[in-house]
C-alpha cells in the first residue's frame, strides 16, 4: 500500500476552477475566509491526514476497537492521534465563532474531512458524528444547553453520537421502545439502542449522546418522538464533570469493515434511568434529528470520495511499480500501467472519483449558500438545490465507492486479495456507506417522492437549466458537448416519464427510484467533467500551471463521457421500460 498523499492540486482545481467556491469568501458570514487562508488550511489538513491518521489505519483494522468490561479500548495510537486532532483545532473549522469555531464555510471543512476519510475512515467517523451533534445543538438546543455543550464539542474535547436505531426495526422509527419520563428539571431515559458509532471509547473525557425517544405518554408513531442529550458524565454547573450517567456500552459489533470505529449496543437506564435533557420541543425529535442527518448524508457521500481516492492512489502506485507482461506495442517488459486494460481500470477509478468529488463539493456549496447566501432568493434556491442533491450525493457516491475500491483490488491481482497489501480494507470499509445514514433505497425514494414529485419537477428542472446553460455557454468540445447534452435530454425525459406516470401504481415510485437516482448521478458527473474539460482547456490555453495535470483533466473528461456516461442511458431505460415489470412484482414473485 502506498503512503497517502492528500490530492491538494485536485482540490484546488475543483474549488477554484470548477466550482468557484471563492465566491463564498465574499459573503459576510465568511469574513474569516480568503483564498490564501483556505489554501493553507487544505495544505495543512492534507499533511495532518497523511502524517497522523494514515499511519494508524491498518493497525486499527487489525486490532479493532473492542468492548472490555463496559469500556471500549481503541487501537494503538488512536487516542494520541485524536488528541493531536483536537490540539490542532481541526474540529472547529466550519463552526460558529461565538462558541469557539473558526467560521469557515462548510465546503472548506469538507476538504479536510475528505482527507480524514482517505487516511482513516474509522477515525473520521468520530468527528463526523460530533459535527452532527453540534448541528443539532446549534439549531435546536436552549442557550443554556448550548453554553454547556457547544464549546466542548466544537473544540473536540468531547465527542457526539447519534442514537436512533433499535434492534426490532432499523430504518423504521415509528415504533421505538426506548422511553423518556419527566423527572425534576430533566428526563429519565430507559432503553437500548444499536449501531451507535463511537458510542463508547477512551479518547475523550466525555461523550455526548443525542437520543431519539418518545415521552412515556406520547402518541404512537414518529410524531411522538422527542430528542434528548444524554452525556456519559453529567456536567456540573461550573462545567466540570460530575457523576457517571446511567448509560453504558453493552457490546460492539464484529463487522466487515471500519473495524476501528466501535459500533456499539448502548444501554440507557439499567438502574434509575439515564439523565437526559430535551433538545427542541416535545414531538419534534425526528425533525430535529433530520438536521443532523442531512449534514451526515453529505459526509457519507464524501466517505465514498475519500475511500475512492485512497484506493486509486494505491492502485496507481502499484501499477507503476509492478513489472509484468510485455508492451502490446514494443514487446518490451513493462510495468502493468502499460497495459491498456489496467489503464482502463485506473481511468475508471480516477474519472468516477473526480465526478463524485465535484458533486460532493457542489452540494456542500449549496449547503453554505442556503444558510449564508446574502439574499433570500439565493437561500431559497440553494435550499431546494441542496435538498435535491443530498440523496444523489449520498447514494451515488456510495454505490460507486464499492466499484472503485473493487477495481483497486483488481489492479493488484492476487496481491489485492491478500489482507497484508491493505487495499482489501478499503473495499471492506466502503461497504457500509451505502447502508448507513439512510440506505440508498431510502435515498432514492426521498429523491423521487420528496425532491422530484412533490414540487412537480420544479427543483429538478432548475438543476437541468443550470446544465443546459453550461452547454450553451461554451463549445470548444462539440463531441463532448453533444454527448453530455444527450445525457441531459434523457434525464429530462425520464423525469417527465415519472411525473406523468407515477400515479399508475402504488409501487411505481419505489420500483423506479434507484435507477432514476443512478441516472441522475451519472448525468451530474458528466456535467462536472464537461465543465472540467472547459476549465482545463482554458488553463492550457493560458499556459498557466502544470500542463500535464490539465491535459489529464481533459483525458478524464473524455473517458468519463464516452465510457461512463452511457450507463446513464441504461439506467434511464431501466426506469422507462422497466417501471411496468418493477411495479408488477410482489411477495410471490420469488421462487
Amino acid at each position: 500500500m502506498a503512503d497517502y498523499q492528500a490530492p491538494v492540486s485536485e482540490i484546488s482545481f475543483v474549488l477554484n476552477d470548477l466550482l468557484d467556491v471563492p465566491k463564498l469568501y465574499a459573503l459576510p458570514d465568511f469574513s474569516e475566509a480568503s483564498a490564501e487562508l483556505v489554501d493553507a488550511v487544505v495544505e495543512e489538513a492534507g499533511k495532518f491526514a497523511a502524517q497522523v491518521f494514515a499511519p494508524i489505519n491498518r493497525v486499527g483494522d487489525l486490532q479493532h476497537s473492542r468492548a472490555v468490561n463496559g469500556e471500549v479500548v481503541t487501537p494503538d495510537g488512536f487516542k494520541e492521534a485524536y488528541q493531536l486532532f483536537v490540539d490542532n483545532g481541526w474540529m472547529s473549522l466550519a463552526q460558529d465563532p461565538e462558541y469557539g469555531g473558526q467560521g469557515l464555510p462548510f465546503t472548506v471543512h469538507m476538504t479536510a474531512s475528505e482527507f480524514w476519510n482517505s487516511a482513516n475512515t474509522s477515525m473520521a467517523l468520530c468527528p463526523m458524528l460530533t459535527a452532527g451533534a453540534i448541528d443539532v445543538f446549534a439549531a435546536h438546543a436552549s442557550n443554556e444547553l448550548k453554553a454547556i455543550y457547544l464549546p466542548k464539542l466544537i473544540s473536540g474535547e468531547w465527542t457526539g453520537t447519534m442514537n436512533l436505531t433499535e434492534s426490532h426495526a432499523g430504518s423504521d422509527l415509528s415504533n421505538l421502545k426506548t422511553k423518556a419520563t419527566p423527572h425534576d428539571d430533566h428526563y429519565l431515559i430507559k432503553g437500548q439502542k444499536i449501531y451507535i458509532t463511537w458510542g463508547e471509547h477512551d479518547m475523550t473525557d466525555n461523550i455526548v449522546h443525542i437520543v431519539l425517544a418518545p415521552l412515556a405518554d406520547a402518541p404512537a408513531g414518529v410524531k411522538g418522538l422527542s430528542l434528548f442529550v444524554v452525556p456519559k458524565f453529567l456536567v456540573n454547573e461550573d462545567g466540570s464533570l460530575g457523576e457517571r450517567n446511567d448509560v453504558k456500552v453493552v457490546s460492539t459489533e464484529h463487522k466487515l469493515g471500519i473495524n476501528a470505529s466501535p459500533t456499539c449496543v448502548m444501554s440507557f437506564g439499567e438502574n434509575a434511568g439515564a439523565v437526559g435533557y430535551m433538545i427542541g420541543e416535545p414531538g419534534q425529535g425526528l425533525a430535529c434529528m433530520f438536521t443532523l442527518m442531512n449534514h451526515a448524508r453529505l459526509e457519507v457521500g464524501l466517505e465514498g470520495v475519500g475511500l475512492s481516492e485512497r484506493a486509486y492512489q494505491d492502485a496507481l502506485s502499484y501499477a507503476r511499480e509492478r513489472v509484468q507482461g510485455r508492451s502490446p506495442a514494443t514487446g518490451d517488459s513493462i510495468s502493468i500501467i502499460g497495459h491498456p486494460d489496467v489503464q482502463r481500470m485506473l481511468m475508471q477509478m480516477k474519472s468516477l472519483t473526480d465526478a463524485m468529488r465535484a458533486l460532493c463539493y457542489d452540494a456542500s456549496m449549496s449547503h453554505d449558500l442556503r444558510t449564508h447566501g446574502d439574499d433570500e432568493e439565493t437561500r431559497d434556491y440553494h435550499s431546494t438545490r441542496f435538498a435535491l442533491l443530498t440523496p444523489v450525493t449520498k447514494a451515488w457516491c456510495t454505490e460507486l465507492v464499492n466499484e472503485v475500491t473493487s477495481l483497486g483490488i483488481q489492479v493488484h491481482g492476487g496481491m489485492g486479495f491478500v489482507e497484508e497489501t491493505g487495499v482489501a480494507q478499503h473495499y471492506r470499509d466502503a461497504r457500509i456507506t451505502s447502508i448507513y445514514e439512510g440506505t440508498n433505497g431510502i435515498q432514492a425514494n426521498d429523491l423521487v417522492n420528496r425532491k422530484l414529485i412533490r414540487d412537480g419537477g420544479a427543483g429538478v428542472k432548475a438543476l437541468m437549466n443550470e446544465m443546459t446553460q453550461s452547454v450553451e455557454s461554451a463549445g470548444d468540445f462539440p463531441e463532448l458537448r453533444d454527448a453530455f447534452r444527450a445525457g441531459v435530454s434523457e434525464l429530462q425525459e425520464t423525469s417527465n416519464y415519472i411525473l406523468d406516470n407515477h400515479k399508475d401504481s402504488d409501487y411505481f415510485e419505489g420500483a423506479v427510484a434507484y435507477n432514476y437516482l443512478m441516472q441522475m448521478g451519472y448525468v451530474c458527473g458528466a456535467w462536472y467533467h464537461y465543465r472540467s474539460a472547459l476549465a482545463a482547456h482554458k488553463k492550457l490555453q493560458s499556459g498557466e500551471g502544470d500542463s500535464q495535470f490539465y491535459a489529464n483533466k481533459l483525458l478524464a473528461a473524455r473517458f468519463y463521457i464516452h465510457q461512463m456516461l452511457p450507463r446513464a442511458f441504461a439506467f434511464g431505460s431501466a426506469v422507462r421500460d422497466g417501471a411496468g415489470i418493477g411495479s408488477e412484482l410482489n411477495e410471490q414473485s420469488f421462487s
Copy 2:
C-alpha cells in the same frame, strides 16, 4: 443466514427445458447416463451439500486453514466432511470409468459442483483443483503415471494442486525461476511457488502437485516450460506411500475471503530437490497446463453462480422475515419483501443468477460435445463454441457475483455488515473469482484476440446465428423478442466495429476488451432469459408442473430484458465511442 437448499427445480428447468442436456445422454460415451439417474444425482448432491458442506462454512471462515510447523490444519469438521465426500463417490461423477469414474457428462458434474460452491466455496476448491489435475493426467501423462495417480485422484483419496505463479510475476509465466534438473528416471525440482490453493492440508494421505517449471537448460520464455508431477509422498511400486518428498508449505496467506481454503507458499527442493516426473513432452508445459485451466475457468464462473445463489437465498429469507416499514399500497406494517426497492434488489439478484447459471451449463454442454459429440462436425463446432464461451463465462459470472453478493448485504441493511449474519462472507469469498484462473482482463483479451479476431469473427457469427434462430423460431413475446433482437444487433455491430478497427492502434484490443466481454455476457443472458420465457410459457399452457414457478420465470425474463439488458448497450457504447480515448491513454495520463 438461512439454511442452504439446493435449487433442484431450477437445475431441472435449465437442464431439461432450457438447454436440452438430455440429448447428451444418448451419446455412446455417456451410456451410463439417463434423465432419471441425473435427477437422482442432482437430488442427492443437493442434500449432501446442504447437510455436510453448508454447516461448516461459517466455522471455516472463522477458524481459517492455517500453517503450523510445516503442516496445514483445516477448520473443525473439514477432514470428516471431505472423507464423506470421498466415501460417497462425489469426486468421480464425470470421470473415466477405466480409472474408477462414473462416466457422466461434465455438465452433470457441474450441477453438483454448483451446490458445493453454494454450500462451502472454500471446500469446493479442493475437488475443483483435483479435477484439474485429473484432466492433465488424462490428457498428457504416460500410461504408467496414469495408472499410479488417476485412480487415487478420481476417488478423491488424494487431492491435486496447480503450481504456476511465482512471487515476481503473477500472470506472466515467461520468466519462472523454479528449475527442473534430470536425475535418473525423474527430475529434481527446486524453487518457490505462491498462491497454491489447498497446497497443503490434513484431509488426505497424499497431495499431488502439478508444477510448471523450465528444465535447467531450456530456452527462455514460455516455450521452455515443462510440466511435472510432484507428489507430497513418493509412491512405491506397489502403490503404497513411500518417503516424504522434498516439498513443503512455507506459509498460508491471510486473505479477504475463502479463509478455509489454504492459499500456500510452497517450497520445492530445499534439500536435495523435490522428485518430479514429467507430464507430456519437454517444452509443452504451458500447453498441457491449459487443459487444466480451460476446465478450471468454467468452474470459477460456476463459483460465481454458487455464491450468487447462496446470497440470493439468504436475502430472500431475510426479506420475508424482517418486518419493517409500511406497505405503499395499504399502509399496513409489512415484511421488507413488500417494498418495491427490495423487490428490485431481489429480482436483480435472481435474474442475474439465472442468466449466469444458464451460461455456465451451456458452456459445459459444449465442453461435453467438443469431446464426446458423435461426429467430427459437432466436435469442431463445439470446440470453437466452448473456446468462445469460456472467457465470457469466467469473467461475466465473476464480475456479477460481486454485484449479487453486495446486493445480498444491502437487503440485510445494517445486519448485512455484521459478520455474524454470514452474508458478508459471501461477498468476501466472491472477490477472488474475478482474479484467479486468469484475471478478467486476461479473459477479455483472450476473447477479443483469440476468439473474435483470430478467426475473423467466424465463431462469434456462429453463436449469433444461434441467437437469431431463437428469435425467428418463436414469437409469443413480441416485446421481449424485439428488445432481445436489438441487443443481438448491437453486439453484432460492436463485433464488426472491433474487426474493422483493431489495427488502428496497438492498444486498441486491450482498450475495448473488457467492455466487449461484458456486452457479450449481457446479451447471452438475454438469450437464455428469452428462451426461458418461451419454455415457461409452454409449460404454463400445458398446465404441467408448478405454475407459480413458471410464472416467476416469465417475470424474471421480463425484468432482466427490461432492466438488465440495457447495460449491454452501455458497454457497447463504451467500446465504440470509447475505443479512441481508451487507446490514447498512456503511463502519463494519471496525475
